[in-house]
């Protein structure tokens, strides 16, 4: 039951986007976010849309995968769209009922915001679809490394992130097991009043915490036995190296960003 939750939604494939240097992918994603938020006209949004569509096609990720990551958020999206529709004032009033009115400006804004957020979600989920969690943390560590100079523990943070990611499936499995064991002793976790249900979680949460701490301790010992002592002087098996195609990709991103900013300036 719990295993059905997809976390760390890496979708293994061999595409241009999969092979791209993860650091450049993160930067490209940030540029895309700027592009989508800076744009304030349909035309700039169209440029952003074209960019996301292109990336999607290059990634080899089937559209239904993007749909899967979009679906859970759709209710929220529709809700905000409706709020925008009702409360944004501007232009000609088309329909009115009490204090609620639908204006041309409202329609425009709500559609605009809707499309913008859909594009944003599709674009950012491409990053996690095409990059394995390990590569992603490596890239974050590398990108944040300038902060080391001011004493920020970049390596430790990245290590914590990758350990956390690594243990999500393990802990889910453990939860499943403990849940079954307590159900076998007659615990009801899925029925009864809210207060009862919360109380019924104790037999599951306590063993889960105990085992999480035990695992953490074991892992710490195992790491120390192999002489782990933080990031200082540590070398990597897989070095991140930018290839010419990564620079080209970045240049294309900048081109798109430039185009959308130009359109903004021209007030199109």
């Amino acid at each position: 039951m719990l295993k059905d939750i997809t976390l760390g939604q890496y979708f293994p494939a061999d595409s241009v986007l999969h092979r791209m240097d993860p650091r450049y992918k993160i930067i490209a994603t940030l540029l895309m976010i700027v592009m989508l938020f800076a744009g304030n006209s349909p035309w700039t949004l169209a440029v952003g849309g074209l960019f996301v569509l292109l990336a999607q096609l290059l990634s080899g990720i089937p559209f239904r995968m993007s749909w899967k990551s979009l679906r859970p958020i759709l209710p929220v999206l529709f809700f905000t769209a409706i709020l925008n529709l009702i409360f944004i004032d501007g232009g000609e009033t088309l329909w009115q009922w009490g204090i609620l009115k639908v204006t041309e400006g409202g329609i425009e804004t709500s559609i605009f915001m809707f499309v913008r957020i859909v594009l944003l979600l599709c674009g950012t989920s491409l990053l996690t679809y095409t990059t394995s969690p390990i590569l992603l943390t490596d890239a974050i560590e590398s990108l944040l490394s300038p902060l080391k100079r001011v004493g920020f523990p970049v390596h430790e943070m990245a290590m914590m992130m990758s350990i956390a990611l690594r243990f999500i499936p393990t802990l889910l499995e453990e939860t499943d097991k403990i849940l079954s064991a307590q159900k076998a002793r007659g615990a009801c976790v899925d029925s009864g009043k809210m207060a009862d249900r919360v109380k019924a979680l104790i037999p599951v949460l306590v063993p889960l915490f105990v085992s999480a701490f035990r695992r953490a301790e074991e892992l710490a010992t195992a790491m120390e036995c192999r002489c782990y002592r933080g990031g200082e002087g540590r070398t990597r098996l897989r070095q991140l190296k930018a290839a010419p195609r990564d620079h080209i990709a970045l240049a294309i991103c900048l081109l798109f960003l430039g185009a959308s900013l130009m359109l903004n300036l021209l007030k199109l």
Partner: protein, 288 residues
């Protein structure tokens, strides 16, 4: 009289996806009263999955599980009742302890059954005694116990529900040889005392040979054979073919037979072997 019956029980993991796997394949069997039954099979043979059907933790994809003749999935409200009648102890049960004291942890199951304070107390003490947990330990935190004591406390928590069928998944995993023998003896005593049925899932042929009357052998999700322990071990060749072995002492006795010593075929425990060897030696002394 059979308490629990399965009819064409089949369970498929992740049905309808590329990861589809049939873990239990059309298993039909009957489990009677007042018995100690050993459950053996290779890792991944479907033992654990099958056991989780007996108390309604898993719902069969196909087929039925009947408890006293009634389909346990007919009324979902009855499932809790089923779990009190069929107790299941998972592998490494010590990781499910959570209460403040050992007493309270053992009492969790009986309390869920809605028993009176007095009855709960009686059962907790009874279960603790059955597994040799000293009274002094009952007031302590379960997390302060040793590994073996934790295991006993967790098993006592299910025993205290006094189920008609008690399923133990590898209760001796990770225990030292001494603790292992003691645990099995205590489980055996519990079975005789309560006159209930105990299903002992195990990897050790020696253990099941010594402590069980019947054996249920699983292979690749199918019921390979199910019968009296001695009869199952008589099929040494068939067992070897599915990657299981017969008890070491049986192998030794068979090897001695091949060398021409007059020993019986059906020896499964060290005690039996000792008797047979002594008899043989005495006979040879007389002929000399």
């Amino acid at each position: 009289m059979a308490i629990l019956t399965t009819e064409g029980l089949t369970y498929t993991y992740s049905a309808g996806t590329p990861f589809e796997k049939t873990a239990v394949d059309h298993v039909t069997l009957e489990i009677g009263q007042d018995q100690m039954i050993g459950v053996i099979g290779h890792t991944g043979s479907g033992k654990s999955t099958l056991m989780q059907h007996f108390n309604g933790l898993l719902q069969p994809t196909e087929g039925k599980v009947l408890l006293s003749g009634k389909d346990i999935w007919a009324d979902k409200k009855m499932l809790r009742e089923v779990r009190f009648r069929v107790g299941l102890v998972f592998q490494y049960p010590e990781y499910q302890l959570f209460e403040e004291t050992v007493f309270q942890d053992i009492a969790f199951g009986p309390k869920n059954m809605g028993l009176s304070e007095e009855e709960i107390r009686r059962r907790v003490l009874w279960a603790a005694d059955a597994l040799g947990l000293e009274r002094g330990l009952l007031g302590r935190s379960p997390f302060a116990l040793s590994g073996g004591q934790k295991r006993r406390a967790a098993i006592a928590g299910v025993m205290a529900m006094q189920p008609e069928i008690l399923i133990l998944d590898e209760p001796c995993a990770g225990l030292d040889p001494c603790g292992r023998r003691l645990m099995l003896q205590q489980i055996g005593n519990y079975q005789r005392q309560s006159r209930s049925t105990v299903l002992l899932v195990s990897h050790s042929m020696e253990d099941v040979a010594e402590y069980t009357q019947k054996l249920l052998v699983m292979n690749k999700g199918r019921l390979f054979c199910y019968g009296d322990t001695s009869e199952v071990f008589r099929r040494a060749e068939a067992l070897r073919e599915i990657g299981l072995r017969i008890p070491q002492i049986t192998s030794l006795m068979l090897a001695l037979r091949q060398r021409g010593y007059d020993l019986p075929e059906d020896i499964y425990t060290v005690a039996q072997a000792k008797d047979a060897l002594l008899r043989l030696l005495r006979r040879e002394e007389q002929t000399c």
